[in-house]
């Protein structure tokens, strides 16, 4: 009898724990959309999304976030170009090539990378990367390249860890089969094992994109944050996230609503990315 009541109590506790996270996500959705949609409706969706001018303190103010949308997309693409090849090759090395000793050293290093607070990455980039880039390309050193390199480093742990488990999940028989057919170790891995793990690797890339697009505190320090259309790789850029953080402290009235609306757009981006992730995962499970 006692154990039965205990069981139902515990059941309730688990249930409440589960609801807390659901309530949180529902509240966030409500807040973000209730705060952002009225402003977008008033200002005009087209003017807001495609406007090229962000001048909140002019009269009349203009709130076009296309520069920030493009900025976010550019630095994310940059991060993907730099981070994905390194990440996938590292994962392949970890899963198939390296010996036990190296693995025991490398794996914790990569896990540590995932745990470093983003502001620390940002500060590292500000004092190390920015001067180097400034010496090479001139200008301020705060530009799309710097932000992309930084984000490329920051998404490595996500890509490496998920890709590695995807590669390890490929049945051993694939590898053995291709070896038996006369393929070399390298060939077996590159032409048989990696393609078999592609949906897992793709998921890792998509989660990496999610991380890159949502990253704020590190990017704010090294991106230059100019609110104009991206003007080249060696020019500064402002992303959606940094736009919100930079101006929230002093923003009032319409300006504040515009920032919340920016968050709404960012949220939609993240929803799309996670949606894609779910679809790919489901396909992989079915196929």
């Amino acid at each position: 009898m006692k154990s039965k009541s205990m069981e139902s109590i515990m059941k309730t506790i688990f249930f409440i724990s589960a609801t807390v996270s659901i309530i949180a996500i529902v509240l966030i959705c409500i807040f973000i959309f209730a705060g952002g949609v009225p402003f977008i409706a008033e200002y005009g969706l087209k003017d807001f999304l495609l406007g090229r001018e962000w001048q909140p303190s002019d009269t009349p103010a203009s709130f076009g976030i296309l520069p920030m949308i493009m900025g976010s997309i550019y630095v994310t693409i940059g991060a993907i170009i730099l981070g994905v090849p390194i990440g996938i090759l590292t994962a392949t090395y970890l899963a198939k090539f390296c010996n036990h000793k190296v693995y025991r050293f490398l794996k914790p290093c990569i896990n540590l990378m995932a745990g470093i607070p983003s502001i620390v990455y940002g500060f590292f980039a500000l004092v190390v990367l920015v001067p180097i880039i400034r010496d090479i390309f001139g200008g301020t050193g705060m530009n799309i390249i710097t932000a992309s390199i930084l984000l490329g480093i920051m998404i490595l742990p996500t890509i490496v860890n998920i890709s590695e488990s995807a590669i390890r999940a490929v049945p051993q028989s694939y590898y053995e089969g291709s070896i038996a057919l006369g393929a070399s170790h390298e060939r077996a891995i590159i032409s048989v094992v990696l393609p078999a793990a592609r949906s897992g690797i793709l998921s890792s890339v998509i989660l990496g994109i999610g991380r890159a697009i949502g990253e704020t505190m590190a990017v704010i320090l090294v991106a230059g944050n100019q609110a104009r259309m991206p003007a080249g790789l060696t020019k500064g850029v402002r992303t959606l996230t940094t736009n919100i953080v930079m101006e929230m402290a002093y923003a009032a009235d319409e300006h504040r609503q515009a920032l919340i609306a920016t968050a709404t757009v960012l949220f939609v981006f993240i929803l799309i990315i996670n949606g894609t992730f779910l679809i790919i995962k489901r396909r992989a499970n079915n196929g």
């Binding site: 962000w54 001048q55 002019d58 009269t59 001139g138 100019q226 609110a227 002093y250």
Partner: protein
């Protein structure tokens, strides 16, 4: 053995990076581009800076447009501006005078150094007053609070927060009137942090007085003072004529804005005109400044 070699390799790489970084202070090249650093839209410091220097302009339709150079790096805090300028020989930025330290160099404007005395005398141009304004007669408790702010104790708080005192010889504070009730203070977001400190100090003396501070912006604060929804309005600028017609104002503090450059930059003096051109992107290289 292998591990030792690995450690040695890492050590060499790290040392290489460190020596590589500390190696690039080889003289200032005047033909390099000026890297302009500004604050984000909405910041009180930026608002005051663009107004004083004249970067904000009215176009033919009477609309105010902020013409800050669009290639300017935007940083969202005083510290970030300082770190950027301290790390880049060719950059220029501006910060509140109270935050200045020796990691960067403050330049003279029109030959005048940014010091408390020069701001007080009005010869250092890039400064702004923190104004309080009220309509008609203040309630006793509000008057007492205002007396406190203008007293030597209140001005001490001003100085401790890094602002310039409005007057050097302020009288000592003497309590008058009743010490219970509510004072509503509304206005500038830039004055608000100082006002909070002042209210805190005042409440230590008179715990029964409640001081309500609304951070709404200078113009909104003046509006509330005129309408009577606030006892005292705060403004981080001079009052406009229409406001002066209805309100009495007192300056409680002055805030200087220091224009900063890297310590390696040989420049000592900038004219206000040059400063404006730099921030509007008309002058883009250090050699163009005479």
């Amino acid at each position: 053995m292998k591990r030792f070699l690995g450690l040695l390799l890492i050590f060499t790489v790290v040392m290489g990076i460190i020596s590589g970084c500390s190696n690039n202070s080889d003289g200032f090249k005047a033909d390099r581009t000026i890297n302009v650093v500004t604050r984000e839209e909405g910041s009180g410091t930026r608002g005051a800076f663009v107004e004083i220097v004249g970067i904000i302009e009215e176009d033919e339709n009477g609309e105010e447009v902020d013409r800050t150079y669009e290639e300017a790096i935007v940083q969202n805090s005083t510290n970030a501006v300082m770190t950027t300028v301290a790390g880049d020989d060719y950059s220029i930025g501006y910060i509140s005078l109270g935050s200045l330290n020796d990691t960067v160099k403050a330049v003279q404007i029109d030959g005048v150094e940014a010091t408390a005395e020069n701001i007080l005398s009005g010869s250092y141009k890039v400064s702004r007053p923190f104004n309080l304004a009220y309509k008609g007669d203040l309630s006793l408790v509000a008057q007492d609070f205002l007396n406190f702010i203008l007293s030597s104790q209140g001005q001490e708080v001003v100085a401790n927060e890094g602002y310039v005192k409005a007057s050097i010889q302020a009288p000592s504070y003497e309590a008058i009137g009743s010490h219970s009730g509510t004072v509503v203070v509304a206005g500038s977001t830039s004055v608000t942090p100082l006002m909070e400190k002042l209210a805190e100090a005042y409440k230590k003396l008179h715990p029964d007085v409640s001081i309500e501070i609304q951070s709404t912006g200078s113009s909104a604060g003046m509006q509330s003072a005129m309408e009577g929804t606030a006892d005292i309005g705060m403004a981080s600028r001079d009052l406009k004529d229409s406001e002066l017609a209805e309100l009495t104002n007192v300056v409680i503090a002055l805030d200087g804005i220091a224009v900063i450059v890297n310590n390696n930059n040989p420049i000592e003096n900038l004219s206000l005109e040059n400063l404006k051109s730099i921030y509007m992107g008309e002058i883009t290289s250090w050699s163009e400044i005479e």
